[in-house]
Symmetry: C6
Subunit: 77 residues, 6 copies
């Protein structure tokens, strides 16, 4: 994760769908913070994108981050 | 995930059962955002739908999303 | 999951134990929504009901759903 | 789980430690609800009680249930 | 877990770091409640302390317990 | 974890991105508390940083810690 680059300005989004997209972004940044090498990530992506358990695990992390973002946005009400 | 298509307008549902169905939808979108190829998804679905641990993992993701949706709906009270 | 059938009318239960039973039901519906074939489910059930990690994973999903139901019932106070 | 037997009267406990013990009980009931046969459970217990990942997974389920019980008791304050 | 011994008097700690240490303690008690034999625990500890997935799983349980303790302490504000 | 060293003064951060960085730090401290040997950690890091499931699991732990930190900061609003 490049420290100087701003990639997360706010948890507030216009609507639930953009909130879900931010949850996906957060989940990917969690991966990137551990493995910053884009080439390695591309190779691994192919691997887990073709594995049922890998995809379910990815959806799980998104769900946890979406919980945070939904609370931050007071559920867009 | 096709960005232009609106698939999540609101977290509010009429009742708990529709909330549960929305939780299922969110869980599937989490998978789709990582693997958008429908043919690959169909093949993998067969795989984890016949695996005890795969089904339990799927139910786990739904449970996390249902927690978010239930809070958004103030538990339909 | 048969859409027309009402299986989740409310998250409110009379007491914590009934809340726990509802959490079990939700967890099973999560499985059923992915694999609706009862015969397959019966076969798989035998499998994970005899696996330590399968049983712990099942208990985990119930715990997440019980958290939702407990909050909905304001912890039965 | 024998339906007639009352095993969960309340989520309220006298102190955090009793709350933790209740969390352990809930976690075990989650297992028992899926596999009610005591003999099978005894055999499986030996298995996961000697597996690092099995013990960590058990501790994880207890942590989720302890979260619920702690909230129910307003953190014993 | 020896029932007579008091090991958890309160969830309140002086500061976040002590809260994190309490989260570690809770996570270990979860393990101990399932496997009380210290010799077995020592042997297994060596095993998962040298496994990447074992260490990540341990950190996950600590994170869940830290969530509970942080809420109990109103985030030390 | 060296007990005398202060590594977690507060859960409050200036903005969401610094909160996310703190979540990464907490996740790593969870690992370090179980395996304090830096050389072992370096070796294991190489291992899971090249494993799709290891990276997803790391992102999951960060997501749980980010939930705690976001609540502590009232979502930076």
């Amino acid at each position: 994760m490049e420290k100087k680059e701003i990639w997360l300005e706010s948890l507030i989004t216009k609507n639930p769908q953009e909130g879900y997209e931010l949850a996906i972004k957060l989940s990917r940044m969690g991966v990137k913070s551990t493995q910053p090498d884009i080439e390695v990530l591309k190779k691994l992506r192919k691997e887990y994108a073709n594995s049922a358990s890998g995809l379910t695990a990815a959806s799980h992390v998104i769900a946890v981050n979406f919980q945070t973002i939904s609370a931050a946005n007071k559920y867009w009400k």
